[in-house]
Every structure is written in C-alpha cells, then in structure tokens.
C-alpha cells in the first residue's frame, strides 16, 4: 500500500489534468486553480529538502574529515552567510545580500560559463582531428555561423553573414524541427508511462 496509494493519486490526478486540457468547464478550471494553490504551498518545502540534503552531505564530510573537507566548510559558510544576509537586511538593491550577488555569485557563475569557451575550442579541435566528412560539415557550419555574428565576418565577405542566415533558417530549422518532433513524442510517451504506472522509478526504492 505504501507504493499503491501514491500511484493511485498520480493516475487519478493525472487523468483529471488530461481531461482539464480538453474540457474548459468551470469545475475543471476551479480544480486547476485549487491544485495551483496547493502545489505552490507544497513547493517551498522541497527547497528545504535540498538545503537539508546539502547540510547532510557536507556535514558528514566535515564530521568524518573526508579529504578536502575544508571546502565543505566554505560551502556551508557561504550558504549560511548569504541566507542570513537576505533575512537580516532584506533582498533589495544596496543590501549586503545584493552585494554578495553582484560581487561573489554573479562574477563566479559568469566566469564558470566563460571557462567553457576554452573547452569548447578544445572540443572543436578534437572534432576537426576526427577528419570525417560529418565532423568537417559541423565545423564549417559552426565557423560560418560564428563569423556571421561578428563584424569581422562581413568585413571578410558579405557572403558570410548571408550564408550564416541561410544555415540558421534552412538546414538548422529542419534539424531543430525534426528533433523537436522527436522530443515531443518522447515527452508524451514518458508522461503516459508515468500516468499508467509503468514508469515508477520516481517513487524511489523500498516498500
């Protein structure tokens, strides 16, 4: 029963939502509004689960003095201090909380993504070394699109920005459209598997 009742809930509510999509009746709309109110009241507790999980993982590392445990202290200190700053002085512009966002969080996350520029360049080099016709097509398309986005491309030839636009609007559109159709069918199949109780991994292990 520990697995069956949750399954009954998801199947019942899930099919009610399928019906809601096709029947725009007041009862159906009221049901959807009720669900939205309730699910919003449930959601903050999911965040507290994440916080607890982070504390448990890093707390265990610190307690057992696992290698590099010192960095876990930094993670927890950063979490506690930032959250404290938000609760203590508010989240408006000019507060210590926003100072932490602007001078700690934002520069670091932007740099993390900027780092990827170097690794993408290395990946491009590896792709070019593959020397297959498909890899060459990929790289040529990438170079044309990249040059087409910057003034340098137009300076080399006016043909480059035009080709870039054509690549984006024709072969790229065909690829994106076909992949989108595949993704849509995959999402529908997975959702149906969950609704029909075939896919149950989200319930976790145990009884």
């Amino acid at each position: 029963m520990k697995r069956q009742i949750p399954l009954i809930i998801i199947i019942t509510l899930g099919f009610m939502f399928v019906a809601h999509s096709f029947i725009p009746h007041k009862i159906s709309t009221d049901f959807f509004d009720w669900y939205q109110d309730w699910v919003k009241a449930v959601s903050p507790f999911a965040v507290s689960l994440g916080i607890m999980s982070l504390f448990m993982v890093h707390g265990t590392k610190i307690k057992r003095k696992i290698s590099n445990w010192q960095y876990s202290v930094i993670t927890l200190a950063g979490l506690v201090f930032t959250a404290f700053a938000g609760f203590m002085w508010g989240t408006q512009s000019g507060t210590p909380y926003m100072w932490l966002f602007e001078n700690v969080q934002m520069p670091m996350s932007a740099t993390m993504f900027a780092l990827l520029a170097f690794y993408i360049a290395s990946a491009a080099y590896k792709a070019f070394r593959a020397r297959s016709a498909e890899a060459t097509v990929l790289l040529i398309a990438a170079i044309i699109v990249m040059l087409g986005q910057v003034p340098l491309g137009a300076m080399i030839s006016k043909w480059i920005p035009e080709s870039s636009t054509w690549i984006l609007n024709v072969p790229n559109l065909a690829a994106k459209r076909a992949i989108m159709i595949g993704v849509g069918l995959g999402m529908t199949a997975t959702s149906l598997k969950i609704l029909l109780g075939i896919e149950r991994t989200y319930l976790g292990g145990g009884d």
Partner: protein, 199 residues
C-alpha cells in the same frame, strides 16, 4: 574605497576560477565551493519571500484560509525522505507535484508535434522549403530504429545525418559566441573595472 574592495573581491574570485585553466588547484576549489554555497544561500530568501510568504504564511496566518495547512503538512512529508522507516511518506508530495504531467501530454503533443508538423507542411514552392522538408523527413527517418539503416534506406538516413551535423554546427557556433561574449565581459571587468587599463 568600497567599490575598490568590491572589485578586488570579484577579481580575486574571477581569477580563482580562471586558474582552473592551468590545473585543478586550491584557489579553484575554494571558489567552486563558495559558488555552490552562495548560490544556494541566495535562493533561500528568494523562495521565502516569493513562495513561502505569499502562498503559505499569508493565506494561513493573515487570510485565515486554514485549508492551506493541509498542503503545508503535505510539503513537510518531504523531510521523511531521509528516514529509513518512514521514507515512503515523502512519495505523497512527490506524486502530488508530478500529477501535472497529465497536462503535459496534450501540451507537448500540441506544441512539439502538431505545431511543428503543421509548420512543416507548407507548399514546396522554392529550393529552401524543399530542403527543409527533405531535412525534416530524413532526420525523422534516421531516428526510426525499427528498420536497419542499410541500402537505399541507409542512404536516405545518411542525408538526415548531414542535416543534423549542419544543425549541430550552427548550435555549436551560437554556443561558442555566447561563451566568448561572457569571456569578453570578464576580461573587460578585469582590465577595465579592476585594473583601469581600458576605458
């Protein structure tokens, strides 16, 4: 003075992360650990202000809609995820939140399949619309695994691979440009805001 200190902190953390380009080192590990903690800490007051207060606290304590106590209690069942004996209770908030996938079936069918198919079924009146049609069909055939990709069918699916490679190349180019623009932003910060070498 305050701005100088702020820029120094941001520059130190920026350089700590860039130091990973040399190799994994304590400065990078420090910045990485701090980023995880600060990002999570940043989310907590926002969730409290934008979700907990308007949808839990205000309805219960200010508007006296005591029925909201029920979803709040349901949400608290998440905490049992860590219990060996009562872990099964955490399935209730999970399934309650997941039930919305019932709506995703018609929505994903509509937006990802039907709308895309409708857009693909246009009159083939020039070379570009013909290429888009051929590309879409051959890629879809490539992902049809119930038939071996051999002979004429294999050649047709091969055309799909070429279309996909051009598509991936375009996405790759776009991603590179986005990352490079972020890199330029960080270099501008280091050389301009911090060191004052560029205006």
């Amino acid at each position: 003075m305050f701005e100088t200190i702020s820029n120094f902190v941001a520059a130190f953390l920026t350089l700590s992360i860039f130091s990973f380009l040399y190799k994994d080192n304590p400065f990078y590990k420090f910045a990485e650990a701090l980023l995880v903690g600060v990002s999570m800490g940043y989310a907590i007051p926002l969730v409290y202000e934008n979700v907990f207060m308007p949808y839990v606290y205000t309805p219960i304590f200010l508007n006296h809609k005591f029925i909201i106590i029920l979803p709040a209690l349901l949400g608290m069942l998440y905490m049992f995820r860590f219990s060996k004996n009562l872990g099964w209770l955490s399935r209730y908030p999970i399934v309650f939140g997941m039930a919305i996938i019932g709506m995703s079936i018609p929505m994903s069918l509509h937006s990802s399949v039907l709308v895309q198919m409708r857009s693909a079924m246009l009159p083939i009146d020039n070379i570009n619309t013909a290429l888009i049609f051929i590309g879409t069909v051959t890629i879809l055939l490539y992902f049809f695994f119930s038939k071996a990709h051999k002979g004429v069918y294999g050649k047709v699916t091969n055309v799909g691979i070429w279309f996909m490679m051009i598509g991936f190349g375009a996405s790759f180019g776009y991603t590179v440009m986005a990352r490079v623009s972020l890199l330029i932003g960080r270099i501008q910060f280091l050389l301009g805001d911090w060191l004052g070498l560029i205006k």
